[in-house]
């Protein structure tokens, strides 16, 4: 991931992934498809709930992180491809834990995403891969943290 091979990762590395803006229409479309509950879609229902106005589904906030993660890696690969260097693609993930949405994301919010590497290890079952674990996050400039989770991803060996 992020154009790095397993040996290039180290605990404590901080990687900024960039920003994702949540358009009102995109928030509604995601909610209609995956979380069709009133408070995500309707201003009156939202006002009676925990949030002041319609907010992005939690999985949508996660998807914003993923968009930035994949894009960061693609840009890095493209940058190096120009000089003939081939960087690894992102591997699959077996899951995540401690997923938290501490604050809502509202229409037109710009969220800055990143990750901090926490550990890496070899995989006995897959000699060409290792597993990197990280703490993912997303922040809004005024409202603070809107996302955190402990992620895992397979990373290619050189």
């Amino acid at each position: 991931m992020i154009g790095l091979y397993l040996d290039e990762f180290a605990a404590g590395q901080r990687i900024e992934l960039g920003q994702h803006v949540f358009a009102a229409e995109a928030i509604k479309r995601f909610a209609r498809q995956f979380t069709p509950v009133g408070f995500h879609m309707d201003a009156d229902e939202a006002a009676q709930g925990l949030f002041a106005k319609p907010s992005a589904a939690g999985w949508h906030i996660c998807c914003g992180w993923m968009v930035c993660f994949v894009e960061s890696n693609s840009k890095e690969r493209a940058r190096h491809a120009a000089s003939g260097k081939v960087l690894p693609e992102i591997g699959p993930s077996p899951g995540l834990s401690a997923l938290r949405w501490p604050n809502p994301v509202y229409p037109d919010d710009a969220i800055s995403y990143g990750l901090t590497v926490t550990a890496k290890r070899d995989l006995k079952s897959r000699p060409n891969w290792g597993l990197v674990t990280f703490l993912a996050d997303g922040f809004h400039a005024a409202r603070g943290q809107v996302l955190s989770f402990e992620g895992k991803v397979l990373v290619a060996r050189r």
Binding site: F30, Q33, F34, T35, P36, V37, F39, G49, L50, F51, A57, G58, W59, C62, C63, M66, V67, V70, S74, E89, I90, G91, P92, S93, P94, G95, L96, S97, A98, L99, R100, W101, P102, R126, W129, L154
Partner: protein, 149 residues
């Protein structure tokens, strides 16, 4: 319209059937283009050579689908107010086109919110399997549910 299910209507051990939902190639690719455009979620050839063995759905997609099936089974007719998170999500096996996903959501805990009066916390574990009976996703987490006034 059925009466709204409130926090008091949930008890540990309650369970709700989820699905079935047939996953199409188009929905896998559409989701991946929007949110997770990695080759093995977009293209059969790239999927075939990946460790996922074939075009497969993004784990985020499977998670969102599981949430949609929980909405259809119980949440849209409940006084659900949101969620602050999920403790664990396991993507156990890849989800491929034409997999028919079905499963169960089970209530594992009910307690009052300490910080939000009038709100209860329902914890759950939910899973989906495909037609081969092998689990694709297991998720445990919580929802805020309004208490009866």
């Amino acid at each position: 319209m059925r009466p709204l299910r409130h926090f008091e209507d949930f008890a540990v051990g309650d369970h709700f059937a989820l699905g079935p939902h047939r996953v199409t190639r188009d929905e896998i690719v559409e989701f991946a283009r929007a949110f997770d455009p990695q080759p093995f979620h977009l293209d059969e050839a790239a999927g075939d050579v990946s460790v996922l063995h074939g075009l497969s759905a993004s784990g985020w997609h499977t998670s969102a689908l599981l949430t949609r099936l929980m909405c259809d089974a119980v949440l849209t007719e409940s006084a659900v107010l949101g969620s602050s998170g999920m403790d664990e999500v396991k993507w156990l096996k890849p989800v491929h086109a034409d997999d028919v996903l079905a499963g169960e959501m089970r209530v594992t805990g009910v307690r009052a919110s300490q910080s939000r009066p009038g709100v209860g916390i329902m914890t759950f574990v939910a899973s989906l399997s495909a037609q081969d009976v092998l689990e694709r996703i297991v998720m445990s987490g919580m929802f805020f549910i309004r208490r009866r006034a």
